[in-house]
């Protein structure tokens, strides 16, 4: 089954907990590690994720090329500018169990930075995962009637 998840203004660390459960198949009563019962998850709007607190400035992603002097520490906002899908991908990768099944499960995760999904993937999607953090409505998106109807103190 293919699930859709809108990552707009969501915490990637909390969303990754839910996504990893779907990828492993732990949400099914027929679950077993060797059963290959995970589902596909299509994540959209990954460029609009919201990291908590000072994570954008403080969280650091380490990478080593394997060669001498090849260590690099990239801040979260720098990584997000380079590739908006990487933060969520790395988070889910680190939350999955560290065995040989991890790579196969990551293949079932499809992340897109915005709304545009290829038709071949969109026609497979059959359900949507509920967002963990409710999106508040922007003040300028309220209609004039709603603003006038809202009760005032004086």
């Amino acid at each position: 089954m293919w699930y859709l998840f809108d990552a707009k203004w969501q915490n990637p660390f909390h969303s990754a907990d839910k996504i990893k459960d779907i990828l492993t198949g732990t949400h099914k009563p027929i679950y077993h590690d060797l059963n290959d019962c995970g589902d596909h998850v299509v994540v959209i709007n990954s460029s609009e994720i919201a990291l908590p607190g000072v994570e954008w400035e403080k969280r650091v992603y380490f990478h080593h090329t394997g060669y001498a002097k090849g260590a690099s520490w990239t801040l979260a906002w720098q990584l997000h500018h380079k590739d908006p899908t990487m933060i969520l991908r790395k988070t889910v990768y680190s939350k999955l169990s560290k065995n040989l099944l991890r790579r196969g499960r990551m293949e079932k995760l499809h992340i897109f930075p915005d709304d545009k999904i290829p038709d071949s993937i969109l026609e497979n999607v059959s359900a949507q995962l509920r967002q963990m953090r409710p999106i508040p409505k922007r003040l300028d998106h309220y209609t004039r009637e709603e603003v006038e109807k809202f009760p005032k103190l004086c």
Partner: protein
């Protein structure tokens, strides 16, 4: 040797070494390399294997228990409860189904499982689980403060 006289009996030692080694090598028949055919190498692997099998008899039961709990939890989440709440409430309701039967129901008899889950949800409200509204359990002294 065949024991036909008392002197031979006195001289006889243990069982024939060949049969003792055969007993071990029979267990190592599916091993790799010299470990399946050479006694002094096979005995090390076979001893470890036998130790593992005794220790893991307990682990096996734990492994199945965690698997069953995970499966029941998955079905509970779909129906709006959690495994912990459901299992505790079933105990209070006097339903003595174990984890093995529950996970079988969850897979093969989903409607029966759904009936049990809804029953436990109703019982939860009655007993006051996860809320401060229910009846105060016996033996708790509140002095009217709660």
């Amino acid at each position: 040797m065949v024991i036909t006289s008392p002197t031979l009996l006195a001289r006889s030692r243990g069982a024939d070494k060949y049969w003792k080694q055969r007993r071990i090598l029979r267990l190592s028949a599916h091993y790799y390399g010299r470990r399946q055919n050479c006694y002094s190498i096979a005995i090390r692997s076979v001893r470890r294997a036998l130790q593992y099998s005794t220790l893991h008899r307990r682990l096996n039961k734990l492994m199945y228990k965690t698997l069953w709990e995970g499966r029941i939890n998955a079905s509970c989440q779909e129906l709006g409860t959690t495994y912990n709440d459901m299992y505790a409430t079933m105990d209070q309701a006097g339903i003595a189904l174990d984890r093995k039967i529950l996970q079988n129901l969850a897979i093969w008899e989903p409607r029966s499982f759904r009936a049990l889950a809804l029953l436990t949800k109703a019982k939860q409200e009655e007993e006051g689980l996860n809320s401060l509204d229910g009846p105060v359990p016996a033996g708790v002294v509140t002095r009217g403060m709660l």
